[in-house]
Each structure stands twice: as structure tokens, then as C-alpha cells.
């Protein structure tokens, strides 16, 4: 592989890893607080649709982003209501949200735009444009450093930089602030938080809200930055891959970055090399497309090692008698 195509694959890796990273960090906040969230997929999907739809109608990608985040946080609130207030089963609530999003987005899209469940293509200000970082043009012709800076680091949409900035920010919030301490405690031993005089319910709702916010950004990125508009099921399992990455990352922010970059790389390779000749045998396109998913299973089955999830994960908190 030559240098130019390496840069191209890595550039594509960053674009594809961004929604995974945002969703993975979303799941991290939720699960660290003891709320399992299988509904990352549904929240991203609804955010993708509402951001694209709003951007189409208003012509403003900023409003689109807000609408996407609002939709995702609405579903997060639903999940919180079901699993925190009503102490329901968190997996079932998550699955229900995924079904709800998969069905509703298409139905509403058809009703509003009559284009077979998609939104019209977004143009101009209805889409996030690339940001050119300072000196990108100047440095362009410097060997090695130039292409790396100009083609790989510069030229992404603002949401990509937001996603990558979220990693240190998440780490800081979790491990350096009072809120982070309580959030982690509530996922490990909610009774300790309760007897310390802190609201378990409040802390968990805050975590779920952050999860909704990040999923919303991830969904909006898919429809208004990575692609230009919403199509049916456009998340394509990214919510589940983000969950896999979360386990792979052992619920840690920096590991989450590496894990999602790995999954992003797999997707980038699959996209670029649609068919590979191996000594006369052509690897079919379908296998290449399935590769990231197959490797997800392989990695989860074999390479994770002992990943200890938050101890109180998945269980509603009930005061003991």
C-alpha cells in the first residue's frame, strides 16, 4: 500500500470512527451509572432522521443538530423513565426504543417527504462542511508531515473534533470531578450513594441524559456530515458495534478511543477494498462488507479477556427493607 492510499484509509477511519466513538462514550456514561443501554442504535437513528429532516426544512444544519439531539434525549428520557423510575427491564426498554426508532423514522420520512422513507439530499448550509485548520495550505507540500496534517488531521467537520475532544473530557469528568465519582459509585454500589445522602435517581438520570446528548450528536453526524441526508436504517448496527467497543474498552474512555478507531479502520478497509485477489481467489464483496461485524464477534469472543462490567449494571435500585 502506498503512502497516499494509507492516508486515505486512515482519513476514512477517522470519519467512520467518529459516530462509533460518540455512541461508545454515550454508552460509557450510561453503563458506568448502572443503566445498560442497548438502545444506542435507536437513539442515533432517530437523531439522524430528525437532524436531516430539520436541516432540509429549515436549511440550517445547526437547527438540524439541535433537533437530532432533542429527539435522542427524548428517547433517553423514555429509557430513564422505564428503567429508573419504573424499575423496568433495561434490555427490553432498549430493544423497544430500537424498534420504535426503526419504524417511526421511515414512516414519518415517507409522510413528510414522499421519497420512500428518506429525506432529500442536503446541500450547502444544511450540511456540516469541512473545517480547514490553520496553516493547512501552507504546510501542504511539506513531505510526510504535510499530507498527514492537511489530509488526515485537517479538513473534517466540527463534529469529528468534538468527538475526539470528548475523550479527555469524559475521562476528566469521570475521574476528576465530584459528579464523576458519584456517577461511577452509582453504577457500582447505589446503596452506598443512597446512604451517603446523594440521590441515586438524580445521578442516573443525569447519566442517561448525557448518553442521549452524545447519541444525538452521533446520529446528526451520520446524516448531516458523513452523508447528506437520512436513509432507512442508516445506522446499520453502529449502536451495537459501539456497545461491543465499550466492552472491548472495559468501560474506559481512552480505551474506547482505540477500540472505536479499530472498528473504524475495519470499516474503512472494507469500504476501500471491495474485492481482493488472493492468489487467484477473489474475496467476494459481501465478505468484505461483513468483515467488521465478523471481527466484532471474534474480538468479543476471544480478545477481551476479563472485562468486569459495573457491578450494579442492569439492576434497578430498590431500597432494601
Amino acid at each position: 500500500m502506498d503512502f497516499v492510499s494509507l492516508i486515505a484509509v486512515l482519513d476514512s477511519t477517522i470519519r467512520l470512527a467518529t459516530p462509533l466513538l460518540l455512541a461508545c462514550l454515550a454508552g460509557l456514561f450510561s453503563e458506568r451509572a448502572g443503566i445498560f443501554d442497548i438502545g444506542l442504535e435507536g437513539k442515533m437513528l432517530s437523531a439522524a432522521f430528525f437532524s436531516a429532516a430539520t436541516a432540509t426544512i429549515t436549511g440550517s444544519v445547526g437547527l438540524g443538530l439541535l433537533a437530532g439531539v432533542a429527539a435522542s434525549m427524548g428517547l433517553a428520557g423514555l429509557h430513564g423513565l422505564a428503567s429508573i423510575t419504573f424499575r423496568g427491564n433495561q434490555l427490553i426498554s432498549g430493544v423497544a426504543i430500537n424498534f420504535l426508532a426503526a419504524g417511526l423514522t421511515v414512516v414519518i420520512a415517507q409522510d413528510w417527504f414522499q421519497q420512500g422513507g428518506r429525506t432529500p439530499s442536503l446541500l450547502g448550509a444544511a450540511r456540516f462542511g469541512p473545517l480547514t485548520l490553520p496553516f493547512a495550505q501552507t504546510l501542504r507540500d511539506v513531505p510526510v508531515l504535510g499530507p498527514v496534517y492537511h489530509d488526515l488531521i485537517s479538513g473534517h467537520t466540527v463534529l469529528v473534533y468534538v468527538a475526539f475532544a470528548m475523550v479527555p473530557l469524559t475521562w476528566w469528568v469521570l475521574f476528576r470531578t465530584r459528579f464523576g465519582l458519584r456517577l461511577r459509585a452509582v453504577g457500582e454500589a447505589p446503596e452506598a450513594v443512597d446512604t451517603a445522602g446523594v440521590s441515586v435517581t438524580g445521578t442516573r438520570y443525569a447519566a442517561v441524559a448525557i448518553c442521549g446528548l452524545l447519541c444525538g450528536i452521533a446520529g446528526a453526524y451520520l446524516a448531516t456530515a458523513l452523508q447528506a441526508g437520512f436513509v432507512k436504517d442508516m445506522t446499520a448496527g453502529r449502536g451495537y458495534i459501539a456497545l461491543a467497543a465499550l466492552i472491548f474498552a472495559k468501560w474506559r474512555p481512552w480505551y474506547a478511543l482505540w477500540a472505536t478507531l479499530l472498528f473504524g479502520l475495519l470499516q474503512a478497509v472494507a469500504l476501500r477494498y471491495q474485492s481482493i485477489d488472493l492468489g487467484g481467489v477473489t474475496v467476494p464483496v459481501q465478505l468484505m462488507d461483513a468483515l467488521p461485524y465478523i471481527l466484532t464477534v471474534v474480538i468479543l469472543a476471544g480478545f477481551v479477556g476479563r472485562a468486569v462490567p459495573p457491578r450494579a449494571g442492569g439492576t434497578p435500585y430498590v431500597k432494601e427493607k
Binding site: R176, R178, G180, R184, A185, A192, A196, G197, R311, K321
Partner: protein
């Protein structure tokens, strides 16, 4: 504090009542505890002690009544309010975050600012001072999961003191401690009292009440039946107040007349699924007509020993019952084959392993013995009527209340649940009874009964292997005592020739004197 006027009580409760559905857990409770004293609260399970303390700590809201803290009427709607009122609580089951450090646990919920570092720094200093003042020595950077229970308890006390508590409630604090750890705890409580702190000690151990408290209140069936000065009472008197009748605290048993060896265990080894060696070469024997007590702090391999003997865990080594070896491979070493060889097993956790809580008493009574010919109607069907009748008979023998075979196991009290399991196993007249924690969470009245039954089995010429974390129970029931520590037998003593001090050293892993 003014000289001419007695101080206000640190805690004063007036007419506290609380009902759960139709059950009146607290009925018009009045209580006065003076500052700088240790006040004990004793009572049987379900007497309402924990409910009362939960009300004081804001976990429950009382239906009626008033709380005064240092003379001030105080409303305590939640734990936050209790903490503000200067009340700290050390729960029986610790409320700690296992993978946090001591320091993080101490500041959780008591952080002043939004950022952690200044708070952690402040707490480190405070912990150092508390350690010096009260012998509360803990490594602030240790993770909770790496600490023993005694240390974890200190962290709980530190949590309360860090929140400026001057009233400390301890719920059954010594249940999980070695005698040496308990003594250390009492020294800490002594220091706290000397500093003017007020301590409420909830326990069912009369010995502790006598050793450390200034005054003691007795609760029975949701009511405060008596409050006395500890110096003016005796354990026998307190037991009578608790139960409402005279109770025999010491087990009266004739001298053992051991016969032939029933159980021989040689070099028994167990490695658990995580690869940790749990039994590291256990050898022991029990003879007919004797009780061998296994003492030790919970988690030193006693549970694994019980499970191997009961046939629910594979092991290596040799176990012989009545001279013939039994299979330990786990392939055909189930409970059935053990029962066929005259081994009965009363598991440590009656609710998980001894009973199916949703099933009726008569169904539970048949478990393990459901193949018995007496329980069969024909080749295909069981004779449920016969099982019910048999259950009623056994319920009579063991004074199980209510004597209703159709009631689900869940609806019996802890003591009666335990009696159901004991009745099922003892009434089969096994050669060897393997019994774990026979009186855990059982009322004092029922304890007396259960102890008498176990001694009666021994006197009928049967062998008994008793595992208990209650040293008093081990000493009063056993003829011989073996102490387990870290998967090994640290030593064996004749019960009549040893005491708590010597056994306590062995339990802590130290060889006490000549072996």
C-alpha cells in the same frame, strides 16, 4: 455543658410508630440516650430494631412520633437530613463501593467542591487525624475489595466521623469479625465515647452488651419492653426480657461417649473456578456420638468443606463414611448418593440451598427424599397426602409454627425455615449430620431448641460436623473444635480445654501455644 442542669439527651424518641401493611413494626417507641454513652438495643429478629434505626437514619418515615436530637425537635425525611443532624450509621451489610479506594469512599457524597483533588487532599489529612485519635488505622489508598471485613468496617466508621457525626449507630457490628477484631472495635468505641460521642449498638449478642454498653434497651414484637443500666442486669435477665420467658443460654449436655469413626477426611483439596485454592489439604475425622465444631472467620474454606461433604462440589482427596470411600469427582457425587450413605446436609444458606422459597412446606419436606418408598403411591405417582401427613408430624416434633404444611417456605420466619430444613434432615436419622450455620439469623428462643436437637442427635450415637462463625455456638455445642484458616486446619482442641482467646488466635492464622 452547664453544671447545674443535666444535659439534653443526645437522642430522644417519643411515640415512634411504623407499620408495614398490617404488620406493626414499631409501636409507640420511647427512647432516651444521654450524650457520651454507649446504649445497646437488643431484641430478636423482627423485633423492630432495624426499622427503628432506619427511621432514625431517614430510610423510613415514621407513621407517628417525634425525634429530638440534643433537645431539638428534628425531622429526618432522608439520609441527608440524618447526616446534617450529626447521625452516622454503620450498616450490617457495608455500603461501600468495592473498586473505589478508601479515600474515595470516605468523601463520596460529602464532597465540598465540584473537583475531587482538593477534597481528596483534605480527606487524607482528616483520616490521618482520625487514625491517630481513635486507632482507626486504614491505608487511605487501598481498594475496598482488597481489605478484610474488619478494615471495611473501619472505613464505614471513618465515613461517619468524616461527616462530623457525633451520634453513631452500629447494626450488628461484630457478626463478621474475629474476636481480636471485635476487641479492637470495642477499643475504638471506647475512645469515641471518651470523646463525648454517643453510640447506639444494635446486637443480638448478650456478651457484647454486657462488655461495652452503659445502658441497654430491649425490644420485643415492635415494643420497647425495658431499658436498664447494664451494670444492674445479667445476660439471663436480658434473654428473658427478649423472649418473654426463661431461656437456657448454655447448652446442657452430658459428656460425649464417642464410638467408632464415622467420617474420615484425608488431604481434601479444592480449587475453585477462578483457580484459587480454597481447601489446601484438610484432614479430620468425626466419631459416632460426638460433635466436631469447625470454627473460623467466614470465607476461610468452611463453605467449600460443607459443599464437598454435601456433594455439591467436586474435590480431590479421600473421604470415607463408615469406612467406605465416597466419590468426590463430581460425576456421581451428588446429594442423592450422599444420602444413600447416611449423610445428611443442612446447608449454610437455607434460603438458597436448603429450601425453595416459593414451594409449600410439604414439598420442601420431600426434597432429596422424594424417592422414599413411603412417599410413593404407585410406580408413577407420588403420595402427596402421605407427604403432607408426614410433614405435619415432623412440624410437631420440631415445633414449627404455623404448623400448616401448605404454606410456602417464604411465609415462615427465619427460625422456622431453619427448623423445616433441620426436621427434614434429622428425622431421616442419618449417621452423619453435616450442618452449616444452624442458627444464623435465628431467634434466641429457636436457637435454644435447635441446639437441643443437635445435641440429642449426638446422644443418639450419631456423628455431627458443625460449621459456624459464631464462636460461642461452637464452644457450647462441640466436643472437639477444629479451627480453619485460609483453607487449612490451624489446630484442633478439646472444647472443654480451650477458650475464645485461644481459638481467636487460631482463627486469625496464628498458632496459639503448643499444637
Amino acid at each position: 455543658m452547664e453544671q447545674h442542669r443535666p444535659p439534653d439527651p443526645a437522642i430522644e424518641l417519643k411515640g415512634i410508630s411504623k407499620a408495614f401493611g398490617s404488620v406493626q413494626a414499631n409501636k409507640g417507641i420511647d427512647l432516651r440516650v444521654m450524650p457520651g454513652t454507649i446504649h445497646g438495643i437488643i431484641g430478636e429478629n423482627g423485633a423492630g430494631k432495624s426499622t427503628l434505626m432506619s427511621i432514625l437514619y431517614g430510610f423510613y418515615k415514621a407513621d407517628a412520633g417525634e425525634v429530638f436530637i440534643h433537645g431539638q425537635r428534628t425531622r429526618i425525611p432522608d439520609s441527608q437530613a440524618a447526616i446534617r443532624a450529626g447521625i452516622g450509621m454503620v450498616f450490617q451489610h457495608f455500603k461501600l463501593v468495592q473498586n473505589f479506594t478508601v479515600l474515595e469512599n470516605v468523601i463520596l457524597g460529602a464532597e465540598d467542591g465540584r473537583r475531587l483533588r482538593p477534597e481528596l487532599f483534605r480527606a487524607r489529612g482528616a483520616l490521618k487525624r482520625l487514625a491517630e485519635d481513635y486507632e482507626l488505622i486504614v491505608d487511605p489508598d487501598a481498594k475496598i475489595e482488597d481489605l478484610g471485613v474488619g478494615m471495611q468496617q473501619r472505613v464505614e466508621i471513618l465515613k461517619a466521623l468524616y461527616r462530623q457525626a457525633d451520634i453513631l449507630i452500629l447494626d450488628e457490628p461484630t457478626g463478621v469479625l474475629t474476636p481480636a477484631e471485635a476487641d479492637h472495635l470495642f477499643r475504638i468505641l471506647d475512645n469515641l465515647r471518651a470523646e463525648g460521642k454517643t453510640i447506639l449498638l444494635i446486637t443480638h449478642k448478650l456478651r457484647e452488651i454486657m462488655a461495652i454498653t452503659d445502658t441497654v434497651s430491649v425490644m420485643r414484637r415492635g415494643e420497647m419492653t425495658a431499658t436498664v443500666n447494664t451494670a444492674e442486669t445479667s445476660p439471663e435477665h436480658l434473654a428473658e426480657l427478649m423472649v418473654g420467658r426463661k431461656v437456657l443460654l448454655r447448652v446442657d449436655k452430658p459428656l460425649a461417649t464417642p464410638g467408632k469413626t464415622v467420617l474420615e477426611v484425608e488431604d481434601l483439596r479444592v480449587t475453585d473456578s477462578a483457580g484459587v485454592a480454597r481447601l489446601k489439604g484438610i484432614s479430620l475425622n468425626v466419631r459416632a456420638g460426638e460433635i466436631l465444631g469447625i470454627a473460623g472467620v467466614a470465607g476461610n474454606g468452611q463453605s467449600h468443606l460443607l459443599e464437598v461433604l454435601g456433594g455439591i462440589r467436586p474435590a480431590t482427596g479421600t473421604v470415607r463414611v463408615n469406612g467406605a470411600p465416597i466419590d468426590l469427582s463430581g460425576r456421581c457425587s451428588d446429594g442423592q448418593s450422599r444420602r444413600a450413605r447416611g449423610v445428611a446436609h443442612v446447608p449454610e444458606d437455607r434460603q438458597r440451598e436448603g429450601l425453595i422459597m416459593e414451594f409449600a412446606a410439604w414439598e420442601n419436606m420431600a426434597f432429596g427424599y422424594h424417592h422414599a418408598p413411603a412417599y410413593q403411591k404407585n410406580a408413577l405417582l407420588m403420595d402427596n397426602a402421605a407427604i403432607r401427613a408426614d410433614t405435619v408430624t415432623k412440624m410437631g416434633h420440631f415445633d414449627i409454627r404455623p404448623p400448616n404444611p401448605n404454606l410456602a417456605a417464604r411465609n415462615f420466619s427465619g427460625g422456622n425455615q431453619q427448623k423445616l430444613v433441620l426436621a427434614r434432615e434429622i428425622e431421616q436419622h442419618p449417621d452423619l449430620l453435616v450442618v452449616g450455620q444452624p442458627t444464623r439469623g435465628v431467634d434466641i428462643g429457636a436457637i435454644e431448641f435447635i441446639h437441643q436437637r443437635i445435641v440429642a442427635l449426638r446422644d443418639a450415637g450419631k456423628a455431627v460436623l458443625l460449621v459456624s462463625v459464631e464462636l460461642e455456638e461452637i464452644l457450647s455445642l462441640s466436643d472437639r473444635v477444629a479451627v480453619m484458616f485460609d483453607g487449612r486446619i490451624m489446630g484442633e482442641r478439646q472444647a472443654a480445654q480451650t477458650d475464645e482467646k485461644e481459638l481467636g488466635l487460631l482463627m486469625a492464622g496464628m498458632h496459639g501455644g503448643a499444637d
